[in-house]
């Protein structure tokens, strides 16, 4: 018997093996599934926090709620390294070009979560200087409701996004439909 027992009560959850054909000493599956699995479990978040939703996001990153459990350990404060843009807070019209610039600087594949009522729809700021939802300037994958949402809500949004990432075809970003979507926003 070892003097120290490791992982005796471990609650570490391993990802399921993707569907495939396996036999003695080999396993065959699709790139889509393996790469999707890897991407989904290591999304690098880029927080774009402007107000109270940003405070909730800080709690989500902290020890109690711990976004790191889901593979989003490291905030990258540069768009060039990140996969997941988290827009948390009111976006004024004057800030819209900056948000768009940040999105353009991210490399494909990239995903966007709109956290809270303001980022999703303008929220209570139904007024001339405020952008009525960030989906007017960039495409959004997941909307998290709430004003501000609880950290559980943000975690739920990230898990929803992981499902999208897992099931995304590797060719999606080359598809005509995707190009048409970006064209709607004037992004080449």
């Amino acid at each position: 018997m070892r003097p120290v027992q490791y992982n005796e009560n471990s609650k570490v959850k391993l990802a399921d093996i993707p569907e495939g054909y396996s036999g003695e000493g080999f396993m065959a599956t699709k790139f889509d599934q393996v790469i999707g699995l890897a991407r989904a479990n290591s999304l690098w978040p880029l927080p774009f926090a402007t107000s109270c939703c940003g405070i909730e996001f800080m709690a989500t990153m902290g020890a109690n709620y711990d976004l790191a459990r889901f593979g989003s350990e490291r905030m990258g404060f540069t768009p060039r390294q990140c996969d997941m843009l988290l827009v948390a807070g009111t976006i004024a019209k004057k800030m819209a070009p900056i948000l768009r610039q940040v999105y353009l600087q991210m490399a494909e594949p990239r995903w966007v979560i709109a956290i809270g009522a303001c980022a999703s729809s303008g929220g209570i700021f139904d007024s001339y200087p405020v952008l009525q939802g960030i989906d007017q300037v960039i495409p959004v994958d997941v909307y998290v409701p709430g004003c501000p949402p609880r950290p559980e809500g943000i975690l739920d949004g990230v898990l929803k996004l992981q499902e999208i990432v897992k099931n995304e075809s590797l060719r999606r970003r080359h598809s005509d439909r995707y190009k048409a979507l970006l064209n709607e926003y004037g992004i080449q």
Binding site: K94, Y128, P129, Q132
Partner: protein
């Protein structure tokens, strides 16, 4: 320094100042729009008055006052005597032109840009009269009282749905 002293000294120099009031003890008067810079220069440099601090500069829109819809308000402060006064100049909304007071107060620069941004007052002689808070593409002045109230039956929140000129 009392309200009466300041009033008498100003009237001796500028007889066309009018509408003298003392709201909550604060001396208030109107100045003809063409003379705003001259009066402010006098208030600043006169040895007895010494109003050397521009507390605030803003505008008010009175849609019902035909020919003088926009009111430009200056709040001045004499820091030595701790004495404040309020000066108002009215301009028509059709041609809201008034002289910039930036030659006297450099601090008026951003206040006048803000007043231009929200009310469209055209400060002649300002070094850089551009929008300061709103987006540059905005083609209206949002604080003027000339926009319809929101349509209660609207289904979307886009500007064009409720007359904000989007």
């Amino acid at each position: 320094m009392t309200n009466e002293q300041v009033k008498q000294q100003l009237l001796a120099q500028f007889p066309d100042l009018g509408a003298w009031e003392e709201q909550y003890g604060m001396l208030t008067f109107n100045v003809p729009a063409a003379k705003n810079l001259e009066v402010i220069q006098y208030l600043y440099s006169d040895a007895a008055l010494q109003f050397r601090f521009l507390t605030d500069l803003t505008a008010v829109h009175y849609p019902d006052r035909a020919g003088e819809e926009l009111c430009v308000v200056y709040h001045l402060h004499n820091l030595v005597e701790n004495f404040r006064l309020r000066m108002k100049a009215y301009v028509p909304v059709a041609d809201p032109r008034i002289q910039s007071v930036t030659p006297v107060f450099s601090g008026a620069n951003w206040m006048e840009r803000e007043t231009y941004d929200f009310f469209g007052v055209n400060f002649t002689g300002h070094p850089n009269l551009t929008r300061i808070l709103n987006v540059d593409e905005m083609d209206y002045f949002p604080m003027r009282k000339e926009y319809p109230m929101e349509d209660p039956t609207r289904t979307d929140k886009d500007d064009e749905m409720f007359g904000r000129g989007g």
